[in-house]
């Protein structure tokens, strides 16, 4: 098992009137190098699960596994874990505290006790990966940047630790179209070219569906579906009954089928939709 959980249960404020079981008996396994989605309606436990994956929360019961080992075993293990698993919180730019983009991205490598030369190298690399290697940008205040750029700075600040797994909690929230595009271009590059394992939690499939290899679906703290992306997205009725939705282009493909034009429905981008419809029209003609 690369990263996953075994019978993980998490209860918030146990033994109080507010005791809430956020996760119950969660077992799953994500493979190295894959693009994984944790999907579920609000309140289903996605953020709680993500915080377990780099040891920010302790299981009430069960185990969290990384590279075959239980991560909660000792404190030294946790430190090691957090250098290998980078976590980007929801709306991460709200937590910026440095005066410059450089210092923000340098925070983690400096904390690791690296020399200032090595820190600089890490920062330059992280800014270049995220497309933020623009003249003068690293000396600017992070709050002077656009919303999309701020989100990328937050990701660069995590990439600077050279993680093997990148976890992002609802990374597209409050980004406009071009911000979402730069974000997904980056995630595609990191996952497909550099082989970084990516895990994102979301309830917004528009961009994520096309990249996903594997999907874990949560509802009310339990696993309700788990498997390869196409198989999960093919279960449309169940997706909707959970209060989720397929990307708009996938919906159009389903509507075409219902109206009698036979097309493949495992289509998640405009370009795939375009190809599939043109092919279907040609098939119809011949």
């Amino acid at each position: 098992m690369f990263i996953g959980t075994e019978q993980l249960t998490h209860t918030y404020m146990p033994g109080t009137p507010f005791s809430t079981t956020a996760l119950q008996d969660i077992t799953f396994n994500f493979r190295q190098g894959e693009f994984n989605l944790i999907l579920g309606p609000s309140g289903s436990g996605k953020s709680t699960l993500i915080q377990h994956l780099n040891g920010l929360l302790k299981p009430t019961a069960g185990r969290v596994i990384f590279e075959g080992k239980n991560i909660g075993d000792n404190k030294k293990g946790l430190l090691y874990l957090r250098r290998r698993i980078g976590l980007v919180f929801q709306m991460p730019e709200e937590q910026f505290f440095s005066e410059t983009v450089f210092d923000e991205v340098a925070f983690a490598p400096r904390n690791q006790g690296l020399t200032e030369d090595e820190v600089k190298k890490r920062v330059v690399e992280a800014l270049s990966k995220t497309g933020l290697d623009l003249p003068g940008l690293s000396e600017r205040h992070p709050f002077q940047l656009s919303a999309g750029q701020k989100r990328l700075v937050a990701i660069a600040a995590v990439l600077s630790i050279n993680p093997e797994v990148l976890i992002l909690d609802e990374p597209t929230v409050a980004l406009d179209k071009s911000g979402r595009k730069s974000l997904f271009d980056l995630l595609t590059e990191l996952n497909r070219k550099e082989g970084l394992t990516v895990i994102i939690s979301t309830h917004h499939l528009d961009e994520a569906a096309a990249l996903a290899d594997r999907v874990l679906v949560l509802n009310q703290g339990k696993v309700v579906m788990s498997g390869p992306a196409d198989e999960i997205f093919g279960r449309r009725e169940q997706i909707y009954s959970l209060g989720l939705a397929l990307p708009p282009v996938t919906e159009i493909m389903h509507a075409l089928n219902e109206k009698g034009l036979t097309v493949k429905t495992a289509v998640y981008t405009l370009q795939e939709g375009r190809r599939e419809i043109i092919n279907a029209l040609r098939r119809d003609r011949s």
Binding site: Y12, M13, F18, T20, G40, P41, S42, G43, S44, S47, Q90, M91, S146, A147, G148, E170, V173, A174, L175, D176, K177, S178, G179, H203, H204, L242, G243, L244, A245, P247, P248, V249, E251, I252, A255, L256, K259, G260, L261, L270, Q271, G273, R274, I277, I278, A280, L281, D284, R285
Partner: protein, 245 residues
């Protein structure tokens, strides 16, 4: 009305001007004939225009959900039975009955946003200003909130100004205004604006999926009608095309 534009184009600033959270440096903002620069009449302006922020954490104040929904009403010094009824009615509309006794900070993002919306709806404003209110909601909650807001608009005549990044949401508005770099660059019927792809793309914006897909298919030689706005129109036209070939 939907207000669209790239990040940083001034949408949130404009909303804050409508609610007199900001006072214009030049010119005037009028709310029901009252200038927002008239300090003595600010309570009237703010009662007319209720504001829903993007991040509900900035809008929740009380220790339980029901107290939070009641907060604004208590400030108006309404009788307790009126407050109770309005809190329950609003909680019902937004599906929050089950959560009334819960502390808001323990709710999920989507639930928190519904509580924030409930707090504003309970005040029965004449205009609701919404700054990407669905950004943190799941699709079902998003549909609920949009449906609720739509009904408040249609049935009770509450004006809505809705800032959104989602073309599918903007398409539900009667009117769309587009901001870019602090200037109003378009204002008109939603169909006219959201089908003008060259204009939208130049600003880094997008049409609805049906409009975008129709455009790509036309480039590949599909003879689709010039006005395709809704999914249904695209699907019907394509099926017709397949039958006639």
């Amino acid at each position: 009305m939907a207000l669209v534009g790239p990040n940083g184009s001034g949408k949130t600033t404009l909303l804050k001007l409508f609610n007199a959270l900001l006072i214009p440096s030049g010119g005037e903002v009028m709310v029901k004939g009252i200038s927002t620069a008239e300090e003595a009449r600010l309570p009237e302006v703010r009662r007319t225009c209720g504001m829903i922020f993007q991040n509900p954490d900035n809008q929740l104040v009380a220790t339980t959900v029901e107290e939070d929904i009641a907060f604004g009403l208590e400030n108006l010094a309404l009788p307790p039975d009126v407050i109770r009824k309005r809190v329950l009615d609003t909680a019902h509309i937004l599906g929050l009955e089950r959560l009334l006794k819960q502390p808001p900070h323990l709710l999920s993002g989507g639930e928190k946003q519904r509580v924030a919306i409930a707090g504003v709806l309970a005040m029965e404003p004449e205009c609701i200003l919404m700054d990407e209110p669905t950004a943190m909601l799941d699709p079902a909650a998003r549909r609920d909130v949009l449906k609720t807001v739509h009904e408040l608009n249609r049935a009770r005549g509450i004006a809505v100004v809705h800032v959104t990044h989602f073309p599918e949401e903007a398409a539900r508005a009667d009117r769309v205004a587009v901001l870019d770099k602090g200037k109003l660059v378009a204002d008109g019927e939603s169909e006219d604006i959201l089908t003008n792809l060259p204009f939208l793309h130049r600003l880094g914006l997008q049409g609805t999926t049906a409009v975008e897909l129709a455009d790509l298919l036309r480039r590949d030689g599909c003879s689709l009608p010039p006005k395709i706005f809704q999914d249904r129109e695209l699907v019907d036209s394509l099926c017709l095309l397949a039958q006639n070939s």
